[in-house]
Amino acid sequence: MDTNVAAHGTSTTLVGSRRRMPPEFNIFLVLLGIALVYEILGWMFVGQSFLMNSQRLTIMILQVSVIGIIAVGVTQVIITGGIDLSSGSVVGMTAMISASVAQASTWPRALYPSLTDLPAIVPIGLGVGIGLVAGYINGQLIAKTKIPPFIATLGMMVSARGVSKWYTKGQPVSGLTDQFNFIGTGIWPVIVFLVVALIFHIALRYTRYGKFTYAIGANVQAARVSGINVEAHLIKVYAIAGMLAGLAGVVTAARAQTAQAGMGVMYELDAIAATVIGGTSLTGGVGRITGTVIGTVILGVMTSGFTFLRVDAYYQEIVKGVIIVAAVVVDVYRQKGRKKT
């Protein structure tokens, strides 16, 4: 018995003495690897550099920053062991509604002629607020009725999309004020994304909110016995995810300078993909915002690289699907490997 204990003790020491790399490091290597492959293929087939083109890189990061804003919320949901399928539809819904109060009086067909030329804070606040409410409803459903997050957010996904179509009977909302459009111009979407990422990176790592989020994902029973009000916390997490989807909707409308009912379709899946590629485990308890940021950039590099190599858009989707599945497979093996030690 005694030797047994001693042996166990040493093995523990060994595991601990190996200095652990931050988990993002691996993902970062993957990002570099993908970029490098494009660089080489670029020189081989296109005759130019993939990376030495600041314009391409800017466009690339701009394209994914909306996904990134959503993914920051989705990451938190997935860390609790849940899922949010509604974000793409919430983007569409909040884009439409916020744009409808962001129209300029110079636009002849304003939806609410009396509500034109409002300061940008009104449509932005409204969009973010509606996203928050949608997420809050998700959270309430999940916490109170105990239905699986998949179903609750699937319902929201369908209904929110319905709202965005019903809102103008399918008509786009255009003629937005310059003040509103401003947050979609230039590098602003990227800044919004990075600020959001920073805020929630800090929240997850240094606040009680973050500690509870991980605890619930790691073991919901243990979290409950430790005095955490699991239901209230889940409502918070889903509300935040909804709020960020709302913000993403506002940015999307501002960037396009118009809003359409079909905006944000499939964004939820891209956000989930970015999260999972970034190392967040679908079983909960594991994940970081830094990983998600890198995962988002990987998605961007992939899309941008395909375009750069003039790969057919259809192939792009096929390969993207494969990469997402591969990321999860790697995650599963990582978990297995860990259990063996």
Binding site: H8, T12, R20, R208, Y209, A215, A222, G227, V286, K339
Partner: protein
């Protein structure tokens, strides 16, 4: 000579079954789980046409042995013989095909399939088109039920059946494999007296057909009623096998508990203060009833009882995990309502749960995160931000005090041994500075050294005036540590024993009725 299970199954199917004195035997079996030796050099021999009861306290190793015989676990050492032939069972299916069927405590039937479908699953009779022949299946089931005198409709979906009837279906299923050996794990725990009588009738019937039945039970009277022989296990060791006709109840209890108390318990007589927690008529409908007791500062109240006696449920209710249906809880003489763990923590209760993995550890998180999670409710947090420095220092001090063996606190808790995990979880609760500490199986599955350390710690806490409620299945622990022992049986308190008068036999009598 070791035959592969498939060869053995083929031999069996050919009808050329070798004759042997014992249907099934095991010798020198050893099984270790991380941190504990579940079985140590154990033997077991089952004769044909007998009912062989397995007796022992919780954790004695009965279930582990049965799982080895049923192919669920694989022994680290030792041999299992089927009709005198060495055999290595690789899976439950292997065991089944060799005529060993196990009926688990938690029944394994598919609720939305019919009785007949459940029985013949994987072996459904087919018609000439290769589709399942439901008519034939019904006839086969009816025949089987007739043989077993079971009165059930083969076409009914299992979810509509009572627990007792589900048990009958399980038995019929086991018999349908033409099993020679039937293993039953506490089959009567959910049955009424009439249902038990019917079950025994079936068992006697099977016995007369030459089937050997292994019967795990805690109930003494069943042993005398149905068993021909019984084997006793204690702490993973084989104690002996006897015919049940020439022993008394007291003999058996002595065999079950009669170990020398070799472990030293650092029990100290500490001044016992005022009543801190007073529980009156606490009831959780359908689980336990009218539980009343007091605990004083500095007192260790042991709670004994068999698994399923409601011990852990009382603890969960006290801590607000499953709020009570009725009854009162008073702290310092004032009635309080505890309807969730958060309230319990605010009243300075702490609760080390029974199942480290399920309700204790945040397995994939590190020691620091595991230790701090309960205290973050009200301390170490300023405007939502956790004061990392202060809490890390507190956790470091705690883990030093508890002697958690780990290179650093960033180690994932799942990499620690059971004893060290338990220390981290105890640390989690001590950080909240509790006045009432509920410990549910505080030393289950951990090694002797860590056990002693935890006992010492509990003593120290009592000395500092903490009221301790300690639930334990380990007799020496309960007897060695407690000032008073409350014994429970089937959801009721059956008695209190003072430290001076408590003996293993007295506790067992109250617990096993």
């Amino acid at each position: 000579m070791t035959l592969s299970p498939t060869t053995m199954a083929a031999v069996r199917a050919s009808g050329a079954i070798p004759n042997a004195e014992y249907l099934l035997s095991a010798e020198g079996v050893r099984k270790e789980f991380p941190g504990v030796v579940a079985l140590d050099d154990v033997e077991f021999k089952l004769k044909r046409g007998t009912v062989h009861a397995l007796m022992g306290e919780n954790g004695a190793g009965k279930s582990t042995l049965m799982k080895i015989l049923a192919g669920i676990y694989h022994p680290d050492r030792g041999e299992v013989k089927l009709r005198g032939v060495d055999i290595q069972l690789k899976s439950p299916l292997d065991a089944l095909e060799n005529g060993i069927a196990m009926i688990h405590q938690e029944l394994n039937l598919m609720p939305f399939m019919t009785v007949a479908e459940n029985i013949w699953i994987r072996r459904e009779p087919k018609n000439r088109f290769g589709f399942v022949d439901h008519g034939e299946m019904r006839r086969m089931t009816a025949k089987l039920f007739e043989r077993l005198k079971i009165n059930l409709d083969p076409e009914i979906e299992v979810r509509h059946l009572s627990v007792a009837n589900r048990q009958m279906v399980e038995i019929a299923k086991a018999v349908s494999y033409e099993s020679d050996v039937l293993i039953m794990d506490e089959p009567t725990s959910a049955l009424t007296e009439r249902e038990v009588a019917h079950l025994f009738e079936i068992i006697r019937d099977l016995r007369s057909q030459g089937i050997g039945i292994v019967y795990i039970t805690h109930k003494m009277n069943e042993l005398f009623e149905i068993a021909d022989e019984f084997s006793v296990f204690r702490d993973g060791k084989y104690i002996g096998t006897h015919a049940s006709s020439n022993v008394t109840r007291d003999d058996i209890i002595r065999m079950m508990v009669g170990r020398e108390i070799t472990q030293m318990f650092p029990k100290e007589e500490v001044p016992i203060g005022d009543v801190v927690l007073s529980v009156k008529d606490l009831t959780l409908d359908g689980v336990f009833r009218d539980v009343s007791f007091d605990v004083r500062a500095g007192e260790i109240l042991g709670v004994a009882g068999l698994v399923g006696s409601g011990r852990s449920n009382v603890a969960e209710t006290l801590f607000g995990v499953t709020p009570a249906s009725s009854g009162t809880i008073a702290i310092d003489g004032k009635d309080v309502v505890i309807d969730n763990p958060n309230t319990a923590i605010r009243h300075r209760l702490a609760f080390l749960t029974e199942d480290r993995k399920d309700t204790g550890c945040l397995l994939i998180l590190d020691i620091l995160e595991n230790m701090q999670i309960a205290v973050l409710q009200d301390k170490f947090v300023k405007r939502g931000f956790v004061s990392e420095k202060a809490i890390t220092a507190a956790c470091e001090e705690m883990s030093r005090k508890l002697r958690v063996k780990t290179p650093n606190l960033q180690e994932r808790i799942e990499n620690l041994s059971g004893g060290n995990q338990q220390k981290v979880l105890i640390g989690r609760w001590l950080l909240t500075n509790p006045r009432i500490l509920i410990l549910d199986e505080p030393t289950r599955g951990i090694d002797v050294g860590a056990k002693a350390e935890i006992h010492r710690l509990v003593t120290e806490l009592a000395r500092n005036g903490v009221a301790v409620i300690m639930i334990s299945s380990e007799m020496p622990e309960v007897l060695g540590m407690s000032d008073r022992i409350m014994v429970m049986h089937e959801g009721r308190v059956t008695g209190f024993l003072d430290r001076a008068e408590a003996t293993q036999i007295k506790v067992m009598e109250l617990a096993a009725r």
